[in-house]
């Protein structure tokens, strides 16, 4: 049961949060007024969707959001798989495997994502005939996968030697030990850093607009170029990204609460 004072603190915090937001909004409004900016919020909804003869037509913002979702979802899965495999390679006894993993990690982590994206888009894509969206997915997966692999590795290494030894003495194979004992515990532990990596992926995905992939950011830029609704659209685009990342955090939180065993 919550105590009175806990409820009071929550209400106080909520009030504080509300006031801060209100102050920020006020500041922006005042600032934009001084700039002589004319707000045209009523023009914004049509870039989400239009209704023609009662038919729902998604606008550029929704289309961009859908593509951003698609790109990040696929990249998330690929980065996860790539990250886990790289971590396992690094922890394996194979010298070649470890070297390969190291090479991948070092080259990704020591070059800018934007350069990787351009390299894939201008060099690799023409050679291997890869589409734009696929190039975007590939770049994001490779990039976030490298960081995810470090998280996986730390998680796996955090599981005590005793767990390995118990599995060994029970005759479990290495794969069984990883799959049934080590990874389930490690995953639970690394869920928070893994979530923030996923949030980074969503944010970094905005960079794919530089190779003319029509994601949320690119659609926003295009609308602004045509309509000069600069303030409105950037605010909306930012809010949409915020919505995406917050949803992800809430989902991860739920997952964490569902598997509370082992802290």
């Amino acid at each position: 049961m919550r105590t009175r004072s806990a409820v009071f603190i929550q209400i106080r915090d909520l009030l504080g949060f509300g006031l801060t937001i209100a102050a920020a909004v006020l500041l922006i409004l005042r600032g934009s007024e001084q700039l002589g900016y004319n707000w045209h919020w009523r023009q914004v909804p049509r870039y989400f969707y239009t209704l023609i003869d009662g038919q729902f037509l998604p606008g550029p913002l929704l289309k961009g959001l859908a593509l951003t979702l698609e790109i990040t979802a696929i990249s998330l899965v690929l980065a996860g798989v790539l990250g886990l495999m790289t971590a396992l390679l690094r922890l394996s006894s194979s010298l070649i495997g470890r070297g390969l993993a190291r090479f991948y990690l070092e080259s990704i982590r020591n070059t800018p994502l934007l350069v990787q994206l351009f390299f894939l888009y201008f060099v690799m894509a023409p050679i291997f005939d890869i589409g734009r969206t696929a190039t975007a997915v590939l770049a994001l997966s490779l990039f976030e996968g490298a960081y995810a692999s470090e998280i996986f590795r730390a998680g796996i290494e955090s599981i005590g030697r005793g767990q390995w030894e118990a599995c060994h003495s029970l005759g479990l194979s290495r794969a069984q030990t990883y799959g049934r004992v080590i990874l389930p515990q490690a995953l639970r532990r690394i869920l928070p850093p893994l979530t923030s990596q996923a949030v980074s992926l969503i944010k970094d995905s905005a960079l794919v607009s530089t190779i003319a992939v029509y994601d949320l950011t690119m659609e926003g830029r295009t609308i602004i170029a045509e309509t000069f609704l600069t303030f409105e659209i950037w605010l909306v685009v930012a809010a949409l990204y915020l919505g995406l990342t917050l949803t992800l955090s809430v989902l991860a939180n739920g997952l964490e609460r569902r598997y509370p065993r082992i802290a």
Binding site: G162, Q163, E165, S169, G171, L172, V181, Q185, R261
Partner: protein, 254 residues
């Protein structure tokens, strides 16, 4: 499961370890030309001062540590470089650790079922039947759905013993199974070990519980600096040790 101790051929050797040498970086000579034989159904207690190599011996016997030289044969399977042999020995030799090492994310049932299903390829109902049997045996029938962190140390260790027994091992190794326990829980674990011994399980036991050693073991070995100081039948070992070092050690701990 019930084995009649009398029906066992007491002369059949199940563990043969010869000229074991194990060094750790340092260098530490943890096992220094150590040899031991254990007969089927025998309970061997290994004692010795801290750092004398008792744990290392047990860990080498089930392949957790690789020996530098020497030979280990368990139930006619040589512990050599053949992966199939190593795996077979891991399956035939159960081990109980000082720190229990239960799987914290799995319930008691899942802890004990896991290897039965994965290693012995049993169906889940079949494994669960064995698990219930073993839990009843270690006196924890009602804890089947608990998680390790909901159990006391003594209860966790009994689950760990049940988990090792679930594979029907031919040999059980105990490395200070009661050392991490509060005094009032030591008895319940020793009781389970005593029952096992009475049923004819071959056991190699590292312990500081001299009362248990005298009562349950058939033979005692004293180690020091990776070497065998003295070995003898339990009564004789405690009452008429040959080596002066043994007498001194016994004086210290008794």
């Amino acid at each position: 499961m019930e084995l009649n101790k009398q029906s066992i051929n007491r002369d059949e050797v199940i563990i043969v370890a010869e000229h074991l040498v194990k060094t750790f970086p340092g260098p530490v000579l943890a096992l220094d030309d150590f040899s031991i034989r254990v007969k089927r159904g025998e309970v061997l207690v290994v004692i010795g001062p801290s750092g004398s190599g008792k744990s290392t011996l047990l860990r080498c016997l089930n392949g957790l540590e690789a020996i530098d030289s020497g030979t280990i044969v368990i139930d006619a399977i040589p512990l050599d470089h053949h992966e199939s042999n190593r795996l077979a020995i891991r399956r035939e030799v159960g081990m109980v650790f000082q720190s229990f090492n239960l799987f914290p994310h799995l319930s008691v049932l899942e802890n004990i079922n896991l290897a039965q299903c994965l290693v012995r390829k049993k169906s889940k109902p079949e494994a669960t039947r064995t698990t219930r049997e073993l839990l009843a045996k270690v006196g924890l029938g009602e804890k089947i759905d608990s998680y390790p962190d909901e159990l006391s140390g003594g209860q966790q260790q009994r689950v760990a013993i049940a988990r090792a027994l679930a594979l029907r091992p031919k040999v059980m190794l105990f490395d200070e199974a009661t050392s991490a326990l509060d005094p009032e829980m030591i008895g319940e674990v020793l009781e389970v070990m005593r029952t096992l011994a009475e049923e004819g399980m071959t056991m190699v036991v590292v312990t500081h519980e001299m009362g248990f050693a005298r009562e349950v073991s058939d033979r005692v070995v004293l180690m020091e600096a990776g070497r065998l100081v003295e070995e003898g039948a339990t009564e004789q070992f405690f009452l008429q040790p040959v080596q002066e070092r043994t007498r001194e050690f016994l004086r210290q701990i008794l």
